[in-house]
Structures are given as structure tokens and as C-alpha cells.
Amino acid sequence: MADWLSRHLVAWHPPRWRERYREEMLDVLDQHQVSAWTVLDLAGSALSAHADPAYRMAGFSMARLRRAVAGPAMILATLVLVLGTLVAFAAYQERWHLSGEGGVGEVAFAPGRGLLVSAVGIAHQDSMDTVWDVTDPARPRQLSAFQGGEPTVLSPDGRTLATVSFGGQPVLWSITDPRRPARIAVLPTKDGSALWGEAFSPSGGILAVAYTDRIYLWDVASPTRPRLLRTPEMPVTNPPPYAPQEFAFSPDGRMLAILTGTDQVTLWNVADPARAARLATLTGPRDALQAIAFSPGGNLLAGVTYHGIVLVFSLADPARPVLTTTISDIMPDALWPDGLLQHPDAPPCPSCGPADYAVGFTPDGRSLTVLVERQESSVSGDAAITNDSRDTVFTWNVTGSGAVTGFSTAFRDVVGDLPALAPDGRTVVDGAPHSNAVYLWTLP
């Protein structure tokens, strides 16, 4: 409503003003998140322009006077109506947001800007996104909230947020001003297949969008004018539930790693997206990979499987990757949801689901971190509710050649959901299952 009204208010400016500024102002409105303030501001601008001798129409007639009075009167009447609607909507939105049904589903980071975006909601497309200032992690501040959908990934410069929004289409949002997120583009979905993930290239110029059967690359160097790149088909098979690590660009942006089978990762050379070529297939033990991550130097790729087997591949020659490390004994050291370690006979509860994983490196590339979260869930209506969970964090020293030494574990004990590792490799982010709360944990 506010968007519609603001465009009409542009048309209520004097003709000479419109000739000069209409097109560029509509372009600004395309990129701006329109609010009640925008409407009021434009109403003031229209009245001010009508009073401005430079734009006021020459001559005088009763018909003109009637038109001049009718315009502001209509503006005023519509404003009263619209403001009432907006206030009611804002009140509803705030109430909906605070209830936070479903818990925090995804989080995205913009470490350079000290921002974190969390998404909360049962259905992905209805998710409410909250932008947080985490410059001081001990005192996070909520900057804004908007119904943007999930999953959420942030461009490396922290200015563009990609979500899947209403109708299942990828949507780009500008959070250049994190207090006023603005929708800037919708990427059309061609074949109607379900979207399960998005990832920005390290330069931020390319957005990879993964559907259930293949990945598309978009040129988003100019986010307001995204362009679908013509690429060879990059297939995906049996995609696991969404997690940011399940397909990833290498740190130099020249490679894309995609889970293409339950136990395989395919490496693509995407240095020139138009000539994307398959480089190699990485195969580990016959166990479904759940999460993958490149080392900061791009010379290693780590993964963790359904049963908690940790794999490290050396990509010294990306065309001939070598499996350098297999660690298959971490799960006995991972806490069960009741906080215990040893369950020799059976899981401690019948409703304990499979573990969730996150994997990452520290920025110096010397430490590998794997986070294991075991959950006990129950079903309420159509939604799975996490009742209890325990995270266990494993860290190893890792050499440039992919050899792993040392071993440490850090336990924590919190009811959380969907853990994630921050880009520093030392901060764990977890969402509360029944609210929009986000927990930040620094590893010892």
C-alpha cells in the first residue's frame, strides 16, 4: 500500500517537476524500502513543489484552484487511511515477530560490517529476518526486522542479502543501511523446481542458486540488475537439507564445490562461468556428506558425513584431489541431547534425530573445526520442535598438505537449533528453537 501510494505521490508533483525528476525518483523508489515516512515525505515534497514558484503553473483559474485543492485533500485523506493501515500492520508484524514461531532457522554473517542476519519462522518463505549489530558480541543490537524469507546468505561486503521469498524465488535485499533493508531484485525461477541454497562468490559478483537438480549462476555485480549467466549444466543429486556449507566457492572464487551424490563432491572450474568445466570428483567413504568447507588458502577441502566421519582432501592439484585424512572416531565423544556421552546399547531417546554438522577453518588455515549437534525433537502439528540439544565442538591442527594433528573438544550445553560456524572459525552461532533469540559462543 505504501509503495503504491508513494508512486502516486510522485505523480502529484507539478508537471514541470515531473518532467525533470519523475523517472529518476521512481528508480530510487524501486530500490528504497518504502515506509510510512516515505509517504509523508513525498506528500510534503509534492506540496512544497506546488508552492515553489519555479514549478508552480503560470496563470490562475477556478478549475486550477479546484485541482490544486483536490490534490492535497486527496493526499490527506489517503494518508489518514494508509497510516492507519500501516500502524495496524506494524503492530501485527511486531507481535508476529516477537512470537518467533518455529525458532531461528538460518543465520548469515557480514563480519566486515559487524552484522548478523537471523531468520525465524516455520515455513521458509514466511520467515522473518532480523538484522543484528554484533560489533560487540556481548551486546548485540537489533537494527531491523522484515519478512524476507530464508535461507539467508550475505554478500562478502555485507551489503546484499539473498533469501528465498514468497513464491519460492530468490530475492536480493540491500542492507547497505541495515536499519532500512530494501528489496532490490527478484531472480525468476525458470523451471519451478524447489530452491535449496544460495552462495555468493568471494568477490560478491556471482550468486550461485541451487535447485533440487542443478545450480544456476547469476551475475550480481550490479545487484539491482541481476543477469542469469549461460553455464553448462551443473547437476545436483540427492541434495541434503539446506546448509550453507553444502556447496561452496573456493576462496579465490575460481572453483565451486557441489555435493553431487550422497558421498561425492564435484569440483567445477568457474573462473569463467560461461565455460564452467568439471575439474574432479572427490569421493570419500560410502557415507552421505553433510557439510563441506574450503580452507582459507583454497588448498584443502574438509567435509563431514552423516555418521560423523571427518574428511580432508588436498587440492594442491585441483584436477587430482587426494584424500589426506579420514577421522572416523569422533561420535563417541559427541554429547547426546541428555548431556551424556556413553550409550553403549541404544540412543538415549527414541526421538533423537540424526546429528547436524557444521565445518570450518580458522582464517589462518591452521585449525579445522567440526561442530556436531545432537537433538531430541518432537512433532507439533506439521513442525518439528527441538526439545533439547547438545553441541560438541572438535578442533584439530591441520597442515597445509592436509595432515591433521592434535585434537581438542569443547562442550557446551544449551537448547539450540541449527548450529553454524562464523567465518572466524571460533564463534558458534545457534538459534533458540522457540524464539528469535540467537546465541553467540566463542570457543575456548
Binding site: 528508480d27 516515505t38 513525498l42 510534503g44 515534497s45
Partner: protein, 108 residues
């Protein structure tokens, strides 16, 4: 207090922010809004932006460049740079007096 900004009325402060934004190069409308939000934290609305831009243009302090698709960049003129420098000098004097009178050492 505002010198040449006096007759800009309610557009005086937005005009100062716009001139400051354009001081490092031409920008189109939305780029000005985001830049101003970045360096000052002020969320400028489109009506205010174009109200101020039209006044700055008429005074010859900014100059519109050729439209690129629907976007028209603006650049600051020599006269605009001069009036901006004058305004900054005035503000520095205000800061100096305020520091003296409050005994506060700001931003040192």
C-alpha cells in the same frame, strides 16, 4: 549561522549532507541516500533528497550529468565546493566554541 544555506529552509541540513556525499565524486539519487546513511547515519527519504537536489541545482551548487538508463548522476560544482568549505568552517567554529563552553574534549 547557516550563511548561504539560510534560504534553503528545511532543506539546509539535507543539502549539506548531499554536498558532502558528492564531494568525492558524482553519484545518482539512491547512491547518495546510501552514502549519506553510511557516513552520517541519517536515513534520507526520496522526497527530501529531490527537494534538496532541485534547490542545489538551481543555485548552481550541483550539476546533473547525462542520464544512465533511469539514473541521473549529479556532481558538485566549484561553487558547491566553495559553499561546502564555507559551511564546514562555520561548523568547526561552532564545535570550537562548544568545546570551550562545555569544557569537553571531543574527538581528540
Amino acid at each position: 549561522m547557516h550563511g548561504k544555506f539560510d534560504d534553503l529552509g528545511r532543506f539546509a541540513d539535507p543539502s549539506l549532507l548531499i554536498l558532502t556525499s558528492l564531494a568525492d565524486g558524482p553519484k545518482h539519487g539512491y547512491a547518495i541516500m546510501t552514502d549519506v546513511a553510511d557516513f552520517s547515519g541519517v536515513g534520507m527519504e526520496p522526497g527530501t533528497l529531490y527537494g534538496a537536489l532541485s534547490r542545489l541545482e538551481r543555485r548552481g551548487w550541483v550539476r546533473p550529468l547525462e542520464t544512465q538508463e533511469r539514473r541521473r548522476p549529479y556532481e558538485i560544482t566549484a561553487a558547491g565546493e566553495a559553499v561546502l568549505a564555507e559551511q564546514v568552517t562555520t561548523m568547526q567554529e561552532i564545535v570550537r566554541v562548544a568545546r570551550l563552553r562545555t569544557g569537553m574534549a571531543w574527538g581528540s
